[in-house]
Symmetry: C2
């Protein structure tokens, strides 16, 4: 159990393509499917391992290359030396320039209310998730508060929540089977990771506190229906602009005391958040907003980031659906198109992950695909059946294309 | 108790000079010394509040200004997008360029052995401290492992250790009174924060695991006697180069499994560490090493960072000692000079904090100084008598000079 939850490859951060990863080796030794019958050591060229288990959003790199210097950041050695950014702000390590661009991008996209909200910046939205748990847990309770989320839920929630065996909060699992009395924290990820569903809270008890993880509520992934307006909303540049290496996320928080306690957690955890990455994130968000506004003015000089990324996602989903429908052995979720207030037209939901189900007589889809040198993350990690796997749609073009090609040749 | 340990101003990150801080207000209301008799609301000009409670190392800004573009970092929008830096490294989010400069600066300064060590990068050394606790705690034990450090100890250790009420580890306090059987973790901070002492472990039981916090083991603060050679050593740019806003620290770790588990913690906590700040830290460390080597070659074009900062610390300590000796109401620790292998001469220990004791009949020195609008951190926060206060020596020139001036006018 410990190895499963806290093992070194829980987040599937393995060796890159072309190398045999530790996770692969571990899985192989305990696999009961065809994985054991197919040698999966890396081969040169097109026969290498395709790792789509992780959600590294490098497919946006192409866009940022073509933007040239527009999102380049320059920081002299003597600037941004202090721990402090703005001591008049509850979140004293929040760079004002970053805060300004957060407000602007939400206004431009129309995906979240920022009026009357406190912004708390975090080292990625992971840290903000932990900060929210710290802020929302009663600190004098006799037992830890329950933390729940509807299955399938983000596979890192259980290990992030329980890794320190906190006496403040405890992962309880699927929100749909939760029926304990008293306070609880419910995580609502919408669109959901792994399956792309638009979500609402499901527990509906009086003492629930909601945290909305809106990492994927951007026009390239889902139609924007209206500005989200919840108590605590989490966002991250990793999925919105594709800059995972920055480790910058932000929370929009209605309650001042919650914002204060989240800030306190980040102070105790890392004494603030990299100023350099906040400055770079400001620059990148500015470029995104600029490109969106330029596009609205019908200028063709600057391609809109969201148009670019929407088209890229659309192409990929089309290719994947074709490969999957062709054989009938797998299925993908279907989503109804809807009007997107940002794109000002009907758009398709095209999640950052494909949640694929094995429709034939194979119990462990992750192991089965491993046998074909395709690394994915299995349903069990998300609290559901191993017939499901989650596949990243955000990898590099060549890797994604190779995956679709290989998937369409699998014989069952 | 909760407010004391988890209150919003534990780390003394209050409002800046010229404003009445929340901490000041809180302390005032419970103060039993002359603080209550002296109005401490901010006055214009030289009568404002001087906040030396925090260790914001902004005095090095001047050096970095005069270095011009030498430590400027430029990052295009399309670079360093991925979560990953080097997947062949245990610490897969460690930027190779940063790792290279860490090894180089330790070789140039001669303050730590890097051969045969794993480097783990962290969001400041705070995160690495927590990562070390996670890595060293037995995860199947019936009770949390004891964490101890000799008093006076770094005031944030207790709250950082206990804020999540972890079942893995627990702050127990002063190492000198620790006599429990079984495994424990001892933190050795050397030179010590707050008092500047050169430290060794004091418990000396068989099941002890040591973590060495060497944030201040640099030539401007203490004579370098030999390369430190311990199991786990923590460093940070905040105190070495003065770039606190980067939030970059590093651990040198002998044991591979410990490095792996520390990496795992950072993965669960923040999924890695800002690449932008790692790149900037690499640039800054390179400038430090270059300036040290140029200085060794007797070139006068580039001032050596450590010579510059040593001289600055020397001036400040001279001023402070003069002000303190002048009145006799306070005392400062005395340190024997010693040969510094880096400076190649006998040098003075000149800690980043002054650990000042009130020698007259005042019980609470922090409150007393607050009454004179000087904010410090009191001995209680460090596990010792309130007759002591810790004073930052790293603030801006004008703030420091104002402090010395005011201190020398205090009548007792």
């Amino acid at each position: 159990m410990y190895e499963r939850e806290h093992g070194l490859n829980w987040l599937c951060f393995e060796a890159p393509n072309g190398h045999l990863s530790q996770r692969t080796r571990l899985s192989l030794s305990s696999s009961s499917t065809s994985a054991t019958t197919t040698p999966i050591y890396a081969q040169p060229g097109g026969d290498s391992i395709i790792n789509l288990a992780r959600g590294d959003p490098i497919m946006f790199e192409r866009y940022w290359r073509q933007m040239g210097d527009k999102a380049t950041v320059v920081i002299p050695g003597w600037q941004y030396i202090s721990y402090f950014s703005d001591v008049t702000n509850i979140c004293w390590f929040l760079e004002p320039e970053f805060a300004k661009e957060v407000v602007r991008v939400h206004r431009v996209v129309g995906n979240a209310v920022t009026e009357g909200r406190h912004i708390v910046v975090g080292t990625g939205s992971s840290q903000l998730y932990l900060a929210a748990l710290f802020a929302l847990s009663p600190h004098n309770a006799s037992e830890p508060i329950s933390v729940v989320s509807q299955a399938p839920y983000y596979s890192s929630y259980p290990s992030m929540t329980d890794c320190l065996k906190s006496g403040l909060y405890k992962w309880v699992g699927d929100a749909q089977s939760f029926n304990k009395e008293g306070p609880y924290i419910e995580l609502v990820t919408s669109p959901n990771n792994p399956d792309g569903d638009v979500r609402r809270s499901v527990v509906n008890k009086s003492e629930g506190i909601l945290v909305h993880d809106l990492a994927y509520y951007w026009p390239q992934y889902t139609p924007i229906s209206s500005p989200a307006d919840h108590e605590i909303m989490l966002f991250t540049v990793s999925k919105s602009t594709g800059h995972a290496g920055m480790r910058i996320g932000w929370a929009l928080v209605k309650d001042q005391e919650v914002a204060r306690r989240m800030t306190k957690f980040i102070e105790l955890n890392t004494i603030g958040v990299s100023k350099d990455s906040q400055l770079r994130a400001a620059k990148v968000l500015k470029a995104v907003s600029d490109s969106s506004e330029d596009a609205a003015g019908n200028s063709e000089e600057d391609e809109s980031f969201f148009e670019f990324s929407y088209q890229l996602m659309a192409e990929r989903w089309k290719l994947l659906r074709k490969a999957v429908e062709h054989r009938g052995s797998f299925s993908l979720p279907e989503f109804p198109p809807a009007f997107c207030t940002f794109l000002n037209r009907v758009s398709e939901p095209q999640p950052a992950f494909a949640w694929m189900k094995c429709e034939v007589d194979i119990e462990d889809c992750e192991s089965f695909l491993q046998g074909h040198k395709i690394l994915t993350r299995g349903g069990k990690d998300f609290g559901v059946s191993p017939k499901y796997v989650r596949i990243s749609m955000l990898d590099r073009d060549d890797n994604f294309n190779l995956f679709v090609k290989r998937l369409s040749t699998i014989h069952l």
